[in-house]
């Protein structure tokens, strides 16, 4: 095997060695103090949005829904809820909402889902989802996502619940599973009070 020699050691191995050698507490404090400001932290991928050409979603609506999702996660609502700042949601989706014409806006088979997911958009809005690739089941649903993946597909429904719906599906893409608590974002049904995320769910959102 050929090993390419570089001009000196890379900074990451040096950082790893330093983490072992130096005071862990001091570095961790510095990393957390500067991680979100003075340098680029390890962060979830930026959110972008797409929609089937016949599905309604303006740039302003996408921004509003994502902002509501961020707000739901960010606000501490008591109990086991933590204030969870998911940085890549804070500013809304990146760029304008893009459109696609194929497949149609109805997801009926795996090939439909795969064609949408291949666009590598974090959220895609369609008209109907009757096959969910994440659950591998047939039946009409409002949201479907890759479990620990990069993609989620949603249907526009009750506007008052969309922020929570998107936060819920985004949670699945970050590895979160359902939690049987009507006040939890990861509850399998959405009500206006479903706003709580616990610390382990928050860690998944942020990684």
């Amino acid at each position: 095997m050929m090993v390419e020699r570089t001009n000196g050691p890379s900074v990451l191995p040096a950082a790893r060695r330093a983490r072992n050698r130096l005071s862990g507490a001091l570095l961790t404090a510095l990393a957390s103090a500067f991680g979100g400001q003075g340098c680029v932290p390890h962060a979830p991928p930026p959110m972008t949005a797409s929609r089937y050409t016949g599905s309604a979603l303006s740039d302003a609506e996408a921004a509003q829904i994502v902002h509501t999702s961020w707000e739901v996660l960010q606000t501490s609502d008591g109990g086991d809820d933590v204030s969870c700042d998911v940085g890549n949601l804070r500013g809304g989706p990146v760029g304008s909402v893009t459109t696609f014409t194929t497949p149609s806006g109805v997801v009926n088979v795996k090939a439909d889902y795969d064609a949408i997911a291949a666009r590598d958009r974090v959220v895609s809005v369609v008209d109907q989802i009757n096959w969910c690739d994440g659950n591998e089941t047939l039946g009409p649903v409002l949201g479907c996502s890759d479990q620990s993946g990069t993609h989620m597909v949603v249907v526009r429904d009750d506007p008052s619940a969309e922020g929570i719906l998107w936060a819920h599906e985004y949670g699945h893409t970050r590895g979160n599973v359902h939690r049987g608590d009507p006040s939890a974002v990861m509850n399998p049904y959405v009500v206006s009070t479903a706003r709580r995320v616990n610390s382990s769910e928050c860690a998944n959102y942020q990684r």
């Binding site: 040096a14 009926n108 619940a161």
Partner: protein, 260 residues
């Protein structure tokens, strides 16, 4: 005099180094919790309302839960049919028809069939979604009773003229009547899968065979693709039953799409 690199105080160099090191440490990905095999979407402790009228008003992210719906039993049929008859409760219609189908009360089948045909002109989205959900719901009903008219309806729905004769309303999703009828035929094919009944499998094979003929239209080819998928799901449902099909189970990890 402006400081040059030679005159930067030692403490500044030290601080910059510490900051650079801290940034590098922050950039080292934190340990990722093990996700292989991926966790199931199991929902221990989930609580559903005890009144079916409240149940169908919930916003189910991943669809009406099978276990949550069937526990209401046929006693819930009158309340559910009353919701279907009330335009003010249109937002709950989609969940209502699915719940009726999952319960599988034979008394609900004809009302469901009538509900599918109801309406004129272009439907609103909620109303249209309720109609397509009702078509799938017939599959749930047929799963419980192979002699149900629901199964005969779904088998007949794969015929080319079926939807033209049965519905007068138009889809809000397309202006093209051919595309609109194809969409309904696809839903009927998915309903056949949910039935898990042997005659449904025969009907799906017929759709597939038609789609593979040399003179098959693009619509028939698309319906054949959906029927192939439906046949695979039909086999699972026939083998394990709907309760197990919808029971939480470990999910296959998705292979990331290739970078473009």
């Amino acid at each position: 005099m402006l400081p040059t690199p030679r005159t930067v105080p030692y403490f500044a160099v030290g601080l910059a180094s510490m900051l650079a090191l801290a940034c590098a440490v922050a950039a080292v990905p934190p340990p990722v919790p093990p996700l292989d095999p991926p966790p199931s979407r199991d929902t221990p402790g989930v609580v559903y309302p005890s009144d079916v009228r409240d149940f169908v008003k919930l916003i189910f992210v991943h669809g009406v839960p099978y276990d949550g719906a069937v526990r209401f039993g046929p006693a819930a049929t009158p309340a559910l049919l009353a919701i279907l008859a009330d335009p003010a409760q249109e937002a709950a219609w989609s969940n209502t028809v699915v719940t009726l189908g999952m319960i599988g009360d034979p008394n609900a089948v004809n009302p469901l069939i009538q509900f599918i045909s109801q309406g004129d002109g272009q439907l609103g989205r909620a109303s249209y979604n309720a109609r397509t959900s009702a078509i799938m719901a017939l599959g749930y009903a047929a799963n419980r009773d192979p002699t149900s008219p629901a199964l005969a309806y779904l088998i007949a729905s794969t015929g080319s003229a079926f939807w033209q004769e049965r519905v007068r309303w138009q889809s809000p999703l397309t202006q093209d009547p051919v595309a609109g009828r194809l969409a309904l035929a696809e839903i009927g094919v998915l309903g056949l899968a949910l039935s898990g009944q042997p005659p449904a499998a025969d009907a799906l094979r017929k759709v597939i065979a038609t789609s593979q003929e040399s003179k098959a239209t693009a619509e028939q080819q698309r319906l054949g693709l959906v029927a192939q998928h439906a046949l695979a799901e039909h086999a699972k449902i026939a083998a394990m039953g709907l309760a197990s099909y919808y029971a939480p189970r470990p999910r296959a990890r998705r292979t990331p799409a290739p970078a473009k």
